[in-house]
Symmetry: C2
Subunit: 152 residues, 2 copies
């Protein structure tokens, strides 16, 4: 149950974009350099984020990517689900259609319910952090570090 590099890199890239929200499109190359992610690999991730409508792209020279909406309205859950698919899926529970008749129906049904509830809790946790939260925290820490510098 780990977050793959897609999720990790995706969040880093989105954090990067969030801090530049409103400055127009940011070329992928810059994000890749700052976040130390392979350009080609990041392209794939941005493609998925664009399909999920979390970013919009501008093609051609001076193009790039920007968030499709304010950082406060994009959660880590949005980013992670876009890149890694639905969270905490269990094979016996994933699809919408019912699986084959189980040996002990009661047990299987209980577990299906439990997995579902747990997945909801995980999604709630992931959705409780927005890109704006990350930006605010970054601003706070940078301010603190700066004032610390002046006191030397």
């Amino acid at each position: 149950m780990r977050i793959s590099s897609r999720g990790e890199y995706g969040v880093r890239a989105m954090f990067d974009l969030a801090q530049r929200y409103g400055e127009g499109p940011i070329p992928l190359k810059l994000i890749a350099e700052r976040q130390e992610i392979s350009e080609h690999y990041l392209e794939q991730l941005m493609g998925a984020l664009r399909k999920a409508e979390l970013v919009v792209s501008v093609r051609g020279a001076q193009g790039g990517y920007e968030l499709s909406r304010p950082p406060a309205s994009i959660t880590l859950g949005d980013v992670i689900r876009a890149l890694e698919g639905p969270v905490l899926t269990v094979h016996g529970t994933e699809g919408e259609k019912e699986v084959e008749i189980p040996a002990d129906a009661v047990e299987r049904l209980i577990l299906a319910d439990v997995w579902k509830r747990l997945a909801e809790r995980v999604n709630e946790a992931l959705d409780s952090v927005t890109l704006a939260d990350l930006c605010d925290e970054a601003a706070r820490r940078r301010a603190r570090d700066d004032s610390f510098m002046y006191h030397i």
Copy 2:
């Protein structure tokens, strides 16, 4: 971010054992049959659960496995962590030792904190369900189904 078959099968097997807690050792073969899991594969999982001290084994004829402690004191988190390793790990955060100097230290530190908090929330969710909870719910549903039968 899915639960692998190890986690899913492991929970099924532990649920099975929990419902027979106090009846002495249950042979793996029976669990495998009831839960429709390959015997050899389940052996591996039981080995991990034994090393995590969630079950104890009794060797020889009439042997088998039983829970090492009451169902109310074993959580789904215990089972899943024993079988799948620590939950919601992120490569850049997993080890205890610090990774190489990041490009933007503030960003990386914030994300490390966030991943850690999220992992805690996921663990809390997984630990909020015990094997006894599953058994209680099974008993409740079976009772309801039975009384339904009598009314036909």
